[in-house]
């Protein structure tokens, strides 16, 4: 399969908001109720097609604890996109997204594209962050906001694909699409385990 573009994206956010679960749901179609906490980082890859362009997404799924940033500044420095995740049932985690936005503006590639995901929408009853507030914030900083549930699968494909679209758009606007030197013709067996567990979808917003 010919890959036209290769994009590195990172998942960022407070611990236990569901970064690993979102990435695993997106790439493997799986949800593990008992996901272990992440130490440092994980890597997942997914090939997708947006319009006529085939894209390989290199997803760097990171540990939530602040101090791990010291070990791998590269993960977001070279990233073209970021998924900023908060847990709708955890107010603090939303403020963490706000601080990540500031951090990315200061340190990362200036052209980084990001999307905000309010995860655990299957737990609507425990919601602490009003959806309107989150959407208003996203609008204010010019980012898209998605309501997601790694458990039900809601919004998961959409939020990752939105990041890929944003990166593509940015490239075509700047008129200098960078063809990845690593992108070359090859066959990749991936996603063979798609749809392992079908969870009934919760009453999502």
């Amino acid at each position: 399969m010919e890959v036209d573009r290769e994009f590195k994206i990172v998942t960022l956010g407070e611990g236990r908001v569901g970064k690993t679960s979102l990435a695993m749901r997106y790439v493997r179609g799986q949800f593990n109720e008992k996901e272990q906490s992440t130490t440092n980082a994980n890597f997942l890859e997914k090939n997708i097609r947006i319009n006529e362009t085939s894209i390989k997404l290199n997803i760097w799924d990171t540990a939530g604890q602040e101090r791990f940033r010291a070990l791998a500044p590269n993960y977001y420095r070279e990233a073209k996109g970021a998924l900023l995740v908060y847990d709708i049932t955890d107010k603090e985690s939303f403020w963490k997204v706000v601080s990540w936005v500031e951090e990315l503006k200061m340190q990362a590639d200036k052209d980084i594209s990001f999307v905000i995901a309010g995860n655990k929408c299957d737990l609507e009853l425990d919601r602490q962050i009003p959806k309107e507030q989150a959407i208003a914030y996203a609008k204010q900083i010019g980012a898209a906001h998605y309501s997601t549930s790694a458990k039900s699968g809601m919004g998961v494909n959409e939020c990752f694909e939105e990041i890929a679209k944003l990166i593509l758009d940015k490239e075509s606007r700047s008129g200098s699409p960078i063809r990845s030197s690593k992108a070359r013709s090859r066959v990749i067996v991936k996603n063979q385990e798609e749809v392992v567990k079908k969870k009934k979808s919760g009453g999502c917003c």
Binding site: S37, N42, Y75
Partner: protein, 319 residues
Amino acid sequence: MGAACCGSKVLKHVRVADVSRVPMGMIPPTYQTDQDIENNWNKELNLYQDSNNPISTFKEQNFTKFRSLIYNGTPKSLRFEIWQQALNINSDEISVENLLDSNLSTSLSDIEKDITRTFPANPLFSTELGQKTLKEVLLAFANHRPNIGYCQGMNYIAATFLITCNGDRNSAFYIMNCVLSKFGAERLFEKGFPLVKELCSKFHNSLRSAKPNIEAHILKHNFDDALWLTKWFITMFTYSFSYETVVRFWDGVFTKGIRFMINISLAIVEMIESEILKRDLPLLSEYFSGIGQRYLNIDLIMKNALKYDVQIDNNDQAV
């Protein structure tokens, strides 16, 4: 038996078969079982059976043999007692109870986020009592060493100690505190992770000279340390390997020092050379994520770990 501890530089390179092809459940004849290891120990301890504490007497009277036997493996039934002797645990120094004030710690919310996500499949940590005990061990340490606090990764180390001492909170705290504070492992968690960076850098230097083809492959495919090596070091192997494997690694680390984790990592990587060389980044990442479920010839890893001439600081040896 017994010889594995000495002569770290003279052991000849051992050609290793592709261990991952050994079918699951088939144990090669060279593999020591827990029973074999227990028999080794009982044979020695029988010499001191009149003593009140045969393990302690064995340590005092034949220190060299004591060390080499630990390196060769500790049996489940005696492991915790042996480790306590090996690490000179002094349980009277600190009151764990006084360290459980959750108001003291800024780490509490970080700890709480991880306690239900630490070995969730393990019977001990799928109970509320087990999770509460784990939380208390971590909180006590964070309060005892506020400059270090709680760092993700400690949860797996504390849990491994708890499994070994059958869930006894205070015993787990004392030994973890000893390994982190006195043994030097807490530098793994210090701000900026200085020890992790040092271990990674020494690992790569050694791999470059011992196995330049593996090092080149890792570099070529951008297989970042963040995805595997830093996890091995920060969690002292507990995140990536099975409990039975980890305790053997720790037997080695407790006798050789914290930097011996480099030697063990080199021996693992060399053993799975062919598996590494045929994989690119996504497949490497997948393979290393699942390495705990693969059969690894642990006796051979521990034997090979001795042949690498990594600079080990003698000060951080325990016994």
